[in-house]
Symmetry: C2
Subunit: 387 residues, 2 copies
């Protein structure tokens, strides 16, 4: 196994992109990444594309072939991967494996979702495909309802409050306001969250990530040749993934996401690092409670203690640990298949020192954490700057 580096990144603005279809968004992000790496489409040997539910959103499957076609790749193997909201992170991990193994040198990783061509109720139904259709969604619960159950239990067991959850949203909006790619470039207050419309008690609309269009792309190469393309290659120091049961009812606990715990522990072990080594993290805040769970399950905080720490400002930009500097899923937007790839784009920018107003000072090591569904899949990456 050889070391793998990110040598190019590309992103589209996230949001309601009425004027652009899925193929346009993919082309925009993909070309940005190729240009950033300084390579042409002829150089790419394999492609992994993450998308969750394009069949239900726009009637289009077979997205990897479309992406390859659209970017002018030369008859290369192209593979769509789907692991619900962790589709992007999974695509990155497959790309990592293809390069680390020595099978391919230059590999493209894309993530995309075009969600606004259907009604919000159709979108919510499509997103329900991330949970257990037969045992959960088919019985009447919505996807936000699953996270509401986790939130309620967390409140019951650890005294977590709605105001503490709201603090996650306030922090992420504050970061998003500094990100030109973000869907919501607007600061909000705890009161705004508390007074927002209920979705699934205790979650209100400002506790929930939005419906978004957008795409993200990465170019990977072996670290040993990465300097040819880029002065600041970002090394992928760990790439791990774990699964858990699809339905909440089968789990030992719903106040922890076991897949995150396993993938996180494996990642720190693989990278030979400790929690304190991490300077910046993008975690999967599909709902505010999810960021609280992530901070605990990744081991940054003891179970039951993250909500207070976040509300106290410990994870704000350039505080103790900068979390979701992009604005996270809540502030930056959540085009589902793109999210896991966007997280890696943000960490790359942070480690290169290119994050502008939202730059974490002296960031050298970063992490991404991407969750599928209510936690049946978790994908974790650790990345570091090598000079």
């Amino acid at each position: 196994m050889r070391d793998v580096a990110i040598i190019g990144v590309g992103l589209t603005r996230f949001g309601e992109r009425w004027e652009h279809g899925l193929r346009d968004l993919m082309a925009e992000a993909g070309l940005n990444a190729l240009n950033d790496a300084g390579i042409s489409s002829d150089d790419v040997e394999m492609l992994f594309g993450g998308v969750m539910a394009s069949g239900r959103f726009i009637g289009q499957e077979h997205i990897a072939a479309l992406l390859s076609d659209q970017l002018g790749f030369k008859n290369i193997p192209a593979v769509r991967v789907e692991n619900a909201c962790a589709s992007g992170g999974t695509a990155l991990r497959q790309g990592y494996m293809a390069v680390a193994s020595g099978i391919h040198d230059i590999v493209a990783v894309g993530g995309v979702e075009k969600m606004t061509d259907v009604t919000p109720s159709e979108a919510t139904s499509a997103l329900g495909g991330a949970g257990d259709q037969e045992w959960e969604l088919g019985q009447g619960i919505t996807f936000p309802g699953l996270y509401a159950l986790m939130a309620k239990r967390h409140m019951h067991e650890f005294g977590t409050t709605e105001e503490q959850m709201a603090a996650v949203s306030v922090k992420n909006h504050s970061n998003a306001a500094k990100n030109k790619y973000a869907q919501f470039r607007k600061e909000i207050t705890i009161e705004d969250v508390m007074n927002s419309k209920p979705v699934a008690d205790p979650l209100k609309i400002f506790d929930c990530s939005p419906i978004s269009d957008g795409a993200a792309a990465l170019i990977l190469a072996p670290l040993e040749i990465a300097k040819k393309y880029n002065d600041t290659p970002i090394k992928i120091s760990a790439s791990t993934q774990a699964t858990d049961t699809l339905s909440l009812a089968e789990r030992e606990s719903i106040t922890a996401i076991k897949a995150t715990q396993i993938a996180g522990d494996k990642a720190f072990k693989a990278a030979k690092m400790e929690r304190k080594d991490i300077d910046v993290v993008e975690v999967h805040d599909c709902f505010t409670i999810a960021e609280i769970l992530a901070m605990e399950d990744l081991g940054f905080y003891k179970k039951g203690s993250a909500a207070k720490a976040i509300a106290d400002g410990e994870t704000a930009l350039n505080a103790k640990l900068s979390v979701n500097t992009s604005g996270g899923l809540k502030g930056c937007g959540h085009p589902v298949g793109a999210t896991g790839v966007k997280q890696a784009v943000e960490i790359t920018w942070q480690l290169r020192g290119e994050a502008g107003e939202r730059q974490v000072k002296g960031a050298e090591i970063g992490m991404t954490h991407n969750v599928g569904g209510s936690g049946a899949t978790a994908v974790v990456h650790i990345m570091e700057r090598v000079n």
Copy 2:
């Protein structure tokens, strides 16, 4: 890169499986494969699951996590891959890469589709997601219509006849009649095909593969330890994949599938074999014209000459080259995500000498050929018995 072997295979009966849901079908095929390999679910280190359009068929995405959960795998990385009708072949190729690279030893590969829970018109619409939604399907053509265009042009350029296409269907039904897993265990005649209901001129209903439920599974291991599990491990001698444009209109030719040509040429080169070395092939006959194209594009026949050869019986069971002994997609059925995996199951049985009434005498080397959409993806595998 190390050699990879198939050490276990499992299949469900294909057809209208009203009494079973997707999770039941996956469990049945998966447990069959685990038992065939003589391993337990704890031994499996990674899982790839191929499914095309479960979101549209049953509202369920996140299939790999569901499959892992259902089979009792231990929090392992699980990845759904989707490349339209080549989802199964793509899953096999990803599994092959994971083992060949040395990243994992025991990898499970599954393919599944549950298609009969929607109306035929909804199924046809979902399958259209394999083509180009914006540039083809959205303009009014159906998925069978795309292959009808290819058939018409092939007839025009090479004098291929409807009766010759019908001969593909007759042969494949004849093989399916000998396969207890097949959807249609019934011989048919040229007249039956010619008199069947028109679907998209010149294709009639008996030129088209059916709507099916079913699942297939494989267990892969490094060849060097395969004998521990199995007396007759089947070595994967080549695993290749290529892409072409998604829409027909962008291609140089619609009487050839370039992705098949590229993947096929690469496979023979990788395996250091010639066409004449192959004893048995499973090709992608989603429509009868597709089998004719496959036999030409894989290089078994010169362009324009396969239809006559098939009609002359050269590819019948134990004739010159035995093609689609399982019954193919036409006779055995085409649960889309399962098909590419089922092809490998059939070749494994053939090379082990376990194909019963449809056994190809002395079969030592076999091939599978799995196409996504109208040819934007092709995946080819060559397999051989090692004693």
